[in-house]
């Protein structure tokens, strides 16, 4: 009898208790000023559940955390890796296939990944202050030939997404001459930081003429600060893209809800939140168009993107080449 009552209570409890979906992501996505709070509100309302974001220092940190936690992980989804680190994550065998309908994606490339779903993208670019710099370089060659005291700040490819992006961008541009190019660029590199935040803050302090960031960075200054002097140096040969992705874990106990979240990433509701919180482009066309301010920033005419498998196979080699080129 007791068992039946207990069972009934449990059953009732589970009927009323909301399911909780846990997403591991990088810190600025989960921050109170990031996209997470708005997404949480919208998703919880739509699916009558709890959505929990757990922040780590980086997307790769979020993935490593899942790896460390193994079977016990509370994570259902890892959000924030990009196409350059997708293979690394896929190799772990921790991710399940998705069922999202990727046909409505509006990306400059065709998407046929059956594990990861993209949720936003941007292009890497050098940001400068147009009040100080009148003639920004328009190609890597011009950059390397700038006057001697022209300095840039870049991020370390071993610890930062834009840093790795630049490494691949230069590799894709110069192929087996990349080593020579890095040697030529070296005198212009003021410093190499661990992450984007140190680099960008140094730049805002006026320490360097340009900083490696995203083409969408100026949109922040335009929309939030009404400052129009921050611009990107537009390279005619194209810009390397950073496409951010999310994937569902095989170990998830809430696969249905996790799948629904991946679907939700491709809805207008989600896409509308992205531009002014994560300062990047949504992956589907917005019905009401991009926010004002995004129309005055540069959109590269050509997207450069290395195949994920090639990146994973050669990442170590590329990084070692980079280390050798810059060694003193």
């Amino acid at each position: 009898m007791l068992k039946i009552i207990l069972g009934a209570i449990l059953l009732l409890g589970s009927l009323f208790a909301k399911e909780t979906l846990t997403i591991y992501t990088y810190d600025s996505f989960a921050a109170s000023w990031g996209p997470a709070p708005l997404i949480k509100k919208a998703f919880e309302k739509k699916y009558n559940c709890n959505l929990k974001f757990v922040a780590t220092d980086s997307a790769i940190g979020a993935f490593r955390k899942v790896q460390l936690e193994g079977k016990n992980t509370k994570a259902d989804i890892v959000l924030g890796l990009d196409t350059n680190t997708a293979e690394l994550a896929r190799k772990s065998g921790l991710f399940a296939k998705h069922h999202a309908d990727t046909s409505k994606l509006d990306l400059p490339i065709k998407w046929n990944d059956d594990t990861f779903v993209p949720f936003d993208y941007s292009y890497f670019a050098f940001v400068y202050d147009s009040n100080k710099l009148k003639n920004p370089p328009s190609s890597f060659d011009e950059l390397a030939n700038m006057p001697k005291n022209f300095k840039i700040i870049i991020e370390d490819p071993r610890s930062s997404t834009p840093g790795l992006g630049l490494l691949l961008w230069i590799k894709a541009t110069y192929k087996d001459k990349a080593y020579e190019y890095w040697k030529k660029l070296a005198p212009h590199i003021l410093t190499i930081t661990k992450g984007w935040s140190e680099a960008y803050n140094l730049f805002l302090k006026g320490e360097a003429d340009m900083v490696l960031s995203y083409t969408t960075s100026p949109a922040y200054h335009i929309i939030e600060e009404k400052k129009y002097n921050y611009k990107t140096a537009n390279f005619k040969a194209g810009h390397y893209a950073g496409i951010e992705i999310a994937g569902m874990l095989k170990s998830s106990k809430h696969k249905k809800l996790a799948g629904e979240f991946l679907d939700f990433m491709l809805t207008q509701q989600f896409a509308n939140i992205i531009p002014t919180t994560n300062w990047s482009y949504p992956v589907i066309k917005l019905k009401k168009g991009l926010p004002k301010g995004f129309d005055s920033i540069y959109v590269p005419s050509k997207m450069i993107l290395m195949d994920g498998k090639t990146v994973e196979k050669n990442r170590k080699i590329y990084i070692n080449e980079w280390l050798r080129a810059l060694a003193k």
């Binding site: 989960a30 921050a31 109170s32 990031g34 922040a55 803050n201 140094l202 805002l204 939030e224």
Partner: protein, 545 residues
């Protein structure tokens, strides 16, 4: 022999327990990590040319940083010791100790505001001489400047103590013998500070040897990385825990040699300040001028970056910051964690020092091999953690938390508390141990003959002389715990965040104005703790009269 040991069991047992606990914790962390690396243990210590290169550079920059920091520290402490009365002297000294304990990233940005390419110095020089120094703050010079900035002020603060402890009579003697300032330094001052110099030098060496944030932001080149960076690379990028462990062991090995060397140094008890020194006669005019110049220049060098932090942060929207719930949450978490860890640190320090001094005094336990080993174990367990990379420590705690399931809040607090205590112990011991040794030499005979022991001895003999050191040690470990950014990155989430973690989050999403404001709040908090906590302790008396 056993009789001697049992006579001092009251002081031996707690200290030994703490020491054993620390060693077991270290062992548990490394064991868990070894366990996690699984099968591929075969690659043990295959040093790639790159690792050897990094090792060489790490030792090179750490040696250079240490020598520079110590020289500047001695010169500054010497000047301050002889200029014992001037406006805001105690505030100045408090400011000197605060740079070491602020989150490195804040201090580095302060330095950049002053010395950077777009810094005040370059603007001034451009205005006056139409010349800029360009980016001298980046590269090896930048690493050295930042390390000297952080460590020379700490060295000066600690050495000032030794200078002030030199008995006045010796100065009188020097005066009557007509010693020159140089001769006085060589014959009187140097012998008195020598031992402190060596032990401070070994701490500074360890700090600069394991430097991470500074070499990355100011180094400007991957050749100017440290082993700590290679460890980060192995953990984060390659997820090669066994390689990370090898590197950590390499780093640990070098540090152990150093710790062994420094803990073997006899603590010179005549160095302990008992009363404030005031030399009633003035220094020769030229020397006075030199000392005042040194103090002035150091003020400019050490204080301007702090002023820059104020300057950068003052325009922030403080109402918005103070209203935000995450700020309040991170602030209270930080303060609570820092308070608890500073108290645990000081209690551990007292236990360890109380046990260790038994072996340092011949009147207590006579010299023997066993005694030497125990003494080494105690001092080693206290300073061991300076050498363990915080990333490895954090990873170890994280894996432990996976093995023994408990609520997240428990593990997060446990990891953070332990890491903070372990990190501040060496500093706290270096402040308290010499004082405890001194009180023992002074009062042992009296206490033993009057049979004053335990709590009574503590109240009448120890506390009055230790309270100032205890206050300083609490302030020091409080601020060190406040500034920590290493462990939190694995355990933090939106329910559990600390102030530096929050600050870093702000910096990472264009919110640099708010970040500057939070940095200013952190600076204010650190400074007020440094100025007021030792004062409160100095006044506190158990016994009235």
């Amino acid at each position: 022999m056993l009789k001697q040991y049992s006579r001092f069991r009251g002081s031996l047992i707690p200290g030994l327990l703490v020491s054993v606990f620390l060693l077991i914790l270290a062992f548990a962390i490394f064991f868990t990590l070894f366990d996690a690396t699984g099968a591929n243990k075969s690659t043990f210590l295959t040093l790639s040319p790159r690792v050897i290169g990094l090792l060489k550079f790490t030792i090179f920059q750490a040696t250079l940083s240490t020598i520079l920091s110590i020289i500047i520290g001695i010169i500054l402490a010497w000047s301050l010791a002889h200029q014992s009365r001037f406006f805001a002297r105690s505030l100045l000294i408090a400011l000197f100790s605060s740079s070491l304990v602020l989150p490195t990233i804040i201090v580095v940005f302060g330095l950049i505001t002053i010395l950077g390419r777009n810094g005040w110095l370059n603007h001034l020089s451009l205005y006056l001489f139409n010349h800029t120094f360009e980016g001298f703050l980046y590269g090896l010079s930048g690493i050295l400047i930042a390390h000297v900035y952080l460590n020379a002020s700490y060295a000066a603060r600690a050495l000032l103590h030794s200078f002030e402890a030199i008995p006045k009579q010796r100065y009188k003697l020097a005066k009557s013998l007509g010693f020159s300032v140089f001769k006085r330094f060589i014959l009187i001052e140097w012998p008195a500070i020598k031992q402190s110099v060596l032990s401070i030098a070994s701490v500074v060496f360890l700090l600069t040897f394991t430097s991470f944030a500074i070499v990355l932001i100011l180094g400007g080149n991957p050749s100017y990385n440290t082993l700590e960076v290679a460890i980060y690379e192995a953990v984060k990028l390659d997820f090669d825990i066994s390689l990370a462990l090898e590197l950590a062991f390499l780093q640990l090995g070098i540090s152990v040699i150093l710790v062994f060397f420094s803990s073997n140094l006899k603590t010179n008890i005549s160095n302990v300040k008992m009363q404030s020194l005031f030399i009633p006669w003035a220094e020769p005019l030229f020397v006075r001028f030199l000392q005042i110049t040194i103090i002035f220049v150091s003020c400019v060098f050490f204080i301007l970056p702090l002023i820059a932090i104020v300057f950068d942060g003052i325009n922030a929207d403080f109402i918005r910051i103070l209203k935000s719930t995450i700020f309040i949450k991170s602030f209270s978490t930080s303060v609570i964690i820092a308070s608890i860890s500073s108290i645990i640190t000081v209690v551990f320090t007292l236990f360890l020092s109380n046990a260790r001094r038994n072996f340092a005094l011949k009147s207590r336990i006579s010299q023997s091999k066993v005694g030497k080993i125990i003494e080494f174990m105690i001092s080693f367990s206290g300073s061991l953690y300076l050498a363990i990379p915080s990333l490895v420590l954090g990873l170890g705690f994280f894996l432990l938390s996976q093995k023994f399931i408990a609520p997240h809040l428990f593990w997060a607090s446990f990891a953070l508390l332990s890491a903070n205590v372990l990190m501040s112990l060496p500093f706290s011991i270096s402040v308290i141990y010499p004082s405890m040794l001194k009180t023992a030499t002074r009062y042992d005979k009296l206490c033993f003959s009057l049979n004053i022991s335990g709590f009574k001895r503590w109240i009448y003999c120890e506390w009055p002389f230790l309270k100032e050191s205890i206050g300083y040690a609490i302030a020091l470990s409080f601020c060190l715990s406040l500034g920590d950014l290493g462990i939190i990155s694995l355990f933090g989430n939106q329910d559990f965040s600390t102030l530096p973690w929050y600050l870093y989050g702000l910096m990472g999403s264009y919110q640099n104005n708010d970040a500057a404001g939070v940095a200013l709040i952190l600076l204010g908090l650190t400074l007020s703790v440094f100025i007021f906590v030792p004062k409160i302790f100095a006044k506190e008396n158990f016994v009235k009269g």
